[in-house]
């Protein structure tokens, strides 16, 4: 069986990189005493899949990892054991048992919602949102594996709203075919607002989404 773990990466540890986060999770799973499955082979490791790595500097409210188990265990027991073993800055929000054939979370991923706080110089950016969203196409330089590419990111922006004096929230494409990072959105929005560079922003990934914008953990 597999267990989907929904956890938070708090603001305090937002700078912990993906590899370090993975190691922290592996150690937590070892400490927890839940029956984890190891890979076969010369250098055995825990079978652990993350829905999507969080960039350094970004915190996450409902991140998802999938843990393969070697024995059956109830959701309640698993959650209790893991909760006790996790550092306070990586709390477990919920768990869901799925069977081995359940697709990997990464395969179901479609988009993500973010909350973006801009402590200083937010006003021009927020003011540019309506005209920005009215556009049919927004060309931006996107970093891909093969270098930089000029892409139309407008179709990857599903939603963008002003939610406070210093705050935006948005839903952006996040899947293998197309990904728009919040930084890219901010760059384009800053250009729209006539700013030379994007202001400093704190990003929180609030929800991972599957098809029809259903929360990934429910699929």
């Amino acid at each position: 069986m597999k267990m989907l773990v929904i956890f938070e990466k708090t603001d305090r540890v937002r700078h912990v990189g993906h590899l370090d986060l993975m190691r922290a999770m592996q150690r937590a799973l070892r400490r927890s005493g839940v029956p984890i499955a190891f890979s076969k082979g010369f250098n055995p490791h825990l079978l652990l899949n993350f829905a999507a790595p969080l960039p350094v500097g970004t915190s996450g409210r409902r991140e998802i990892m999938e843990v393969s188990l070697s024995e059956e265990i109830s959701e309640t027991e698993f959650k209790e054991k893991l909760r006790a073993a996790l550092p306070p800055e990586l709390p477990c929000v919920a768990v869901r048992a799925v069977d081995d054939r359940h697709p990997a979370p990464m395969a179901l991923l479609f988009a993500a919602s973010y909350q973006i706080t801009i402590p200083e110089g937010a006003a021009p950016l927020l003011a540019a949102v309506p005209s920005f969203m009215a556009k049919d196409s927004i060309m931006a330089l996107r970093k891909t594996k093969s270098g930089e590419k000029l892409t139309d990111i407008r179709p990857m922006i599903y939603d963008l709203q002003v939610t406070g004096d210093h705050q935006l929230s948005c839903t952006l494409a996040l899947c293998e075919a197309a990904t728009c990072k919040p930084e890219l959105l901010l760059d384009a929005l800053s250009a729209e607002a006539g700013l030379e560079a994007r202001p400093r922003a704190l990003c929180v990934r609030t929800q991972l989404l599957g098809r029809d914008f259903t929360p990934l953990e429910l699929l």
């Binding site: 305090r12 540890v13 370090d20 190691r23 150690r27 550092p87």
Partner: protein, 616 residues
């Protein structure tokens, strides 16, 4: 005064290298309410997070202080220079990792001194905290303490530190913080608090002592000026290691520390009597933990950390009485759970073949051996009781068991060293390579890698070589070049060496007196910090500091001391007596070896401490 602000910190964190060094929130970090603690202790490691988090002493004392319900201990490391500069620009004071409290709000700010080249970081950390650097300028605020091996010659830091703790910290630390608590409750003045602390065995309060100097610059006298201060400060000795407190959990960093694993301290102290080795003299006598205790600690730590690796720590793990039993039990228990067990600092005269084979079941890391010198004569001088035969037997065993990476550590600049001794290093390296090829092809692992590492000998206090002058820089450079030429002719050996400038600076502080405090201050003013990191070592800044203070580094580093000279650390009773050390110094010069005192007491002086060193 700089005020802490979480917002400004967040802003900095987005711009500096490795921000996770400063964010805390790790597994097992202690979270006690700061305001409710009666005594608050900021435990400072004067180097980067990665280095400090690898250190065992901080884990032990962090645990011991936090065990007291009324006390709190939080961690602080030296910010990397980019962060330090950014904090100054943002007016952000240095803060503790747990509760993000500025250091000046603690009752005690304590530094552990593991090596001399971290001293500028002590000043840097005080300055980043808005704490006056000089002890005499502090009328309130935290008491600044220091401990660790470098506290055995506290004098270069005497102007900056209020209280030194000398010796094993487990019991002394509890007495010190309890004394601080009582003084705080009673509303004692700073002076009376220092007086109360000075009465605790192992504690040295530099403000209560005054040195005077001869015309030639040597020390003329050193005496207490306050009735509370003892003329001789006796080092603390922990008698019972087996029942001493040991952490049941380690803080598990997110970013990888240099040593990021479970550490079991199997034994403290060493009886080999290597004459260059300060740790071997300072941590006498040998005290062991029982296998039962160690297995219990391993289990607790594994459950609390989830680490994948476990290492045994001591000065010479090969001498641990129950090594085979322990290693077998650990590999049996943890091999199944994919946890590897490694044995560091193995000494080549004591490698147990069986343990090697056990350890290798789990993981095969490189084999590290420290013959220290290239010829038998030189090894006799330093009392490294190892023969070439031992070494070759050990590496042959290792090669047969599947090892193929060997690191050999040597020192150059040892007393009485000649060209022949340098050539001997080449011969030894060649013999190791030959040993590999004597193992049949099918039995040995592929890819032989031999590395020879040569450090520069630094004479240290409380060793038989404390009287010896260090080779000067040109001599060291010449020897390094010669050794480089020699090893270039041995096919298949990598050679690396340490910066001789760094070793020279280390030597000035290792045997420095109070006047070296001026040099330290001037060097820090010149921008010196993080001196242990090659990329930051600002040698010109240091030389200018010596010049500005009118102090010749050669006086401290290269000068040989005489039998009658009063040494700056003579007022400390470290356990080993000056008479024993002198006798050993004489024997060294005659090339006479002194056997391991497990085979018979050599009268080093530890027996004067009651209950210590009972004959086996």
């Amino acid at each position: 005064m700089k005020e802490f602000s979480a917002d400004r910190l967040e802003k900095l964190l987005d711009t500096v290298l490795k921000p996770s060094r400063y964010t805390g929130g790790e597994m097992n970090a202690v979270a006690k309410p700061f305001d409710q603690a009666e005594i608050t202790f900021a435990f400072c490691f004067p180097d980067s997070y990665e280095v400090g988090m690898s250190h065992l002493g901080i884990k032990i004392l962090y645990d011991i202080i936090n065990r007291q319900p009324w006390a709190l201990c939080e961690r602080v490391f030296t910010p990397w220079p980019d962060m330090a500069d950014a904090m100054r620009a943002e007016n952000l004071p240095l803060f503790s990792l747990e509760s993000r409290t500025p250091l000046r709000n603690f009752d005690i700010v304590g530094f552990t001194l593991q090596y001399e080249m971290c001293y500028t970081n002590v000043l840097e950390m005080l300055d980043l905290s808005d704490i006056p650097l000089f002890s005499k300028d502090r009328t309130d605020g935290p008491i600044i303490m220091a401990g660790g091996p470098c506290a055995y010659n506290p004098e270069p830091l005497a102007p900056f530190v209020d209280v030194f703790q000398i010796g094993d910290g487990e019991e002394m630390m509890v007495e010190v913080i309890a004394c601080m608590r009582a003084c705080k409750k009673a509303g004692c003045s700073r002076l009376d608090t220092l007086r109360a602390l000075a009465k605790i065995e192992g504690v040295y309060v530099p403000a209560f002592y005054k040195p005077s100097y001869n015309a030639d610059g040597t020390l003329a006298s050193f005496a207490p000026t306050d009735p509370a201060a003892p003329a001789t400060v006796r080092r603390r000795v922990l008698l019972d290691l087996d029942s001493a407190a040991y952490p049941e959990a380690f803080v598990v960093p997110y970013t990888e520390a240099i040593h990021d694993r479970i550490v079991l301290e199997i034994m403290r102290g060493c009886t080999k009597g290597c004459r260059f080795c300060q740790a071997g003299m300072l941590y006498r006598p040998v005290r062991e933990r029982s296998v039962e205790t160690l297995l219990r600690q391993a289990e607790q730590l594994e459950n609390a950390t989830g680490y994948e690796e476990m290492s045994l720590s001591s000065l010479s793990s090969g001498d641990y009485t129950h090594l085979t039993e322990l290693v077998c039990a650990l590999t049996e228990r943890y091999g199944e759970r994919k946890i590897s067990v490694s044995l560091p600092s193995m000494r080549i005269d004591s490698i147990v073949k069986q343990s090697l084979e056990e350890a290798q079941k789990v993981r095969k890391s490189g084999l590290t051996l420290a013959p220290e010198a290239g010829t038998q004569r030189m090894r006799d001088v330093i009392n490294k009781g190892v023969t070439e035969e031992d070494l070759i037997r050990a590496v042959t065993d290792a090669f047969t068991s599947g090892w193929s990476t060997v690191k050999l550590y040597f020192m150059i600049g040892l007393p009485t060293e000649t060209d022949e001794d340098l050539a001997g290093i080449g011969h030894l390296a060649q013999d190791v390579i030959n040993a590999y090829f004597t193992v049949p092809r099918g039995m040995r692992a592929k890819g032989l890698r031999v590395t020879c590492s040569a450090s520069t000998f630094v004479p240290k206090p409380f060793t038989p070589f404390q009287w010896q002058g260090q080779d000067d820089l040109p001599t060291i450079r010449e020897k390094q070049a010669k050794l480089g030429d020699i090893l270039r002719q041995v096919k298949g050996v990598n050679f690396n060496w340490h910066e001789p400038e760094l070793s020279m600076l280390e030597a000035t502080f290792a045997r420095g007196d109070r006047r070296m405090g001026d040099v330290l201050y001037a060097a820090w003013k010149n921008g010196c910090r993080m001196d242990g990191w090659t990329e930051f070592l600002n040698y010109d800044g240091w030389m200018k500091a010596f010049e500005d203070c009118g102090i010749d580094p050669k006086f401290y580093a290269n000068r040989e001391r005489g039998e009658k000279e009063l040494l700056p650390w003579d007022f400390i009773d470290a356990g080993v007596t000056r008479a024993f050390l002198w006798r050993e110094w004489q024997r060294a010069q005659r090339g006479e070896v002194t056997p391991d005192c497990r085979k018979g007491c050599q009268g080093c002086g530890l027996k004067r401490f009651e209950g210590v060193c009972v004959d086996r």
